[in-house]
């Protein structure tokens, strides 16, 4: 934040702090929220605004005469939020970059892009307050965004099992009766329960307490 206000050019993952971003979200239709530029710009705007807000709050605390450590401590709420927004942006950009550079069949690529869009849209929906606060997005745009979120659920639903199968985790490594590849859950839950050490005896050791209690 300090360097961003100077003439020094920022490089690396904080370069967005100096970037010229649209002052308002450019989405006009629901489908616009599938566009990578619109989604990433929203994350950049959010990160930049909360980082700069934290910097301003820190400056205000210093102007009040607080020492740097006390001023820092008084701004933890803003600082933690700034770091989270910065990291969230990094994840969204990495996901898009990963999908854009992946080589696979078109249906698989489409599935991956859908998940990526869904991840980005869901994150905006979860943090919409940051984007409403300074008017970057308005209520109508958020309604469109959340309708797009719901529409994507229906796209993901039929391929959900295929998507998790792609993680390719063998049953022995997954170690879950519920998550078995063959889906034979209930019969194996029963078998698993029977193998519990408590089931080795019909009458448990605790009967030494149960018996006298019941006979009293």
């Amino acid at each position: 934040a300090r360097q961003a206000g100077s003439k020094d050019k920022l490089v690396g993952c904080a370069a967005y702090l100096q970037a010229d971003l649209p002052p308002r979200c450019l989405a006009k239709r629901q489908i616009d929220f599938l566009r990578q530029d619109i989604l990433v710009d929203a994350y950049k705007h959010r990160a930049k605004s909360v980082v700069m807000l934290a910097a301003r709050r820190l400056g205000e605390e210093l102007k009040k005469g607080h020492s740097q450590p006390i001023a820092w401590n008084n701004c933890h709420m803003y600082l933690v939020k700034a770091a989270m927004a910065h990291c969230h942006l990094y994840c969204v950009e990495s996901f898009f970059d990963g999908v854009n550079t992946s080589e696979t069949s078109q249906p698989a690529l489409d599935a991956l892009m859908t998940l990526c869009q869904f991840y980005a849209i869901f994150g905006i929906s979860q943090n919409k307050g940051d984007l409403l606060q300074d008017g970057y997005m308005n209520g109508e745009q958020l309604n469109m965004l959340e309708r797009q979120l719901i529409d994507l659920l229906a796209v993901i639903r039929p391929i959900a099992v295929t998507l998790v199968d792609a993680f390719d985790v063998p049953d022995k490594m997954l170690s879950s009766v519920l998550g078995r590849y063959d889906g034979n859950v209930y019969e194996n839950l029963y078998e698993w329960a029977k193998s519990s050490p408590l089931n080795k005896k019909e009458v448990p050791d605790a009967y030494k307490y149960i018996g006298p209690f019941l006979r009293e």
Binding site: C13, A54, F95, L178
Partner: protein, 439 residues
Amino acid sequence: INPDIAEERENAKFDPIELTYVIDGGKEKTERRRFLESEALNDPVFDDPADIAFLTDEQRHTNSVRKSLHMVRRLQEMEITNHMESHWFRVAVHRSEEIALSLHASMFQHTVMHQMTEEQQAYWLRATKDYTLLGTYAQTELGHGTFLRGLETTATYDPTTQEFEIHSPTLTSMKWWPGNLGKTATHAIVAAQLYTKGSRMGVHMFMVPLRSLETHLPHPGVELGDIGPKLGYNNIDNGFLRFNHYRIPIENMCMRHSKVMPDGTYVPPPHKKISYGSMLPIRSGIVGNTGWYLSKGSTIATRYSVVRRQSELIPGTKEAKILDYQSQQLKIFPNLATAFAFIFTGREMMKHYFESLAEMDEGNYSSLPELHATSAGLKAFTSSVMASGLEELRTSCGGHGYSKASGFPELYGTAAPASTYEGENTVMFLQTARYLMKV
């Protein structure tokens, strides 16, 4: 195959292996991973005596060490030195449990490779790679965690004998938490405040022998023990360590970046944060791992949600698959998408790390602050999202998610420590914020 899950696969629009190749980074890598996993999963020596849910913690520790040592031998026999291949094999050996002896192959070995001189490495690196000793990384103390400058353990140089005296001056200075420290490790990289010529020079790393290689008994002046049962990691003897004026030779200080000369003169490092370097690969690696933990949780929840049926979505029809309910989709799909997001982010983070490491090996430390800030923040962000995501996925399985049969208790117990180890998350966010304020 359960017909409800078979139906889902019959209607698939693509072959899942296509995405598996993308996730692994190519068909050849997938095939190699599968080969290594099959070597581990089909080796009867790696079978557990019973489902781990039914074993005591002591049985789990013994079983885990047994498997780990066989794993070391198999890795040597197969001549696997590639980090990723080794990781795949280790994960397959330990299945849902934390990998035993993982600190030996990661932070312990990393410190030897990157913080010791070539002369020091001539001995210690061979011993580390040959496993003629078992190492761990002892930094955290009972009363001190992420704030390294607050560590109390001392290493006081004595020029008359050319030795360091390692000491735990207070109760809170005991080393507390390191994996396999309690009962398994024979050596540790110990983080201690260096004192020489009466001055404190800050935290430095020391190679400290803890147990006899003949009897496995702790050396005189070294007190060791297990810290007891935990939320997870119950196959691992996370330990405590207390020193009582224990002496090690001058050669055991990691001297690649800063040095103590025989007369006690101190030579400082080129960059003040260079000694924190061992944290960076671990934090960077955690990012991708959070994606893998979420992928497991998503796999369990999604498959179960097409087998489980509950209530009538349309009155008078068969009970619906619970994945057909929008509320269930809203619990699972964000976590499924996040799993992919974190896998890709982890890949990007590791790329960033290796690029910066190459620069630092050439003497260029300019990327260190950004790498430090990015790895700290992303470790915190991904691990906190993952932990809450796993809880949401567990509850998406209803009551059965509470059973250890679901895999969620072990998965959560193994994954959740990432929020507090290698730097508590809020402290990590504040480190990233400090960098963001500066730039």
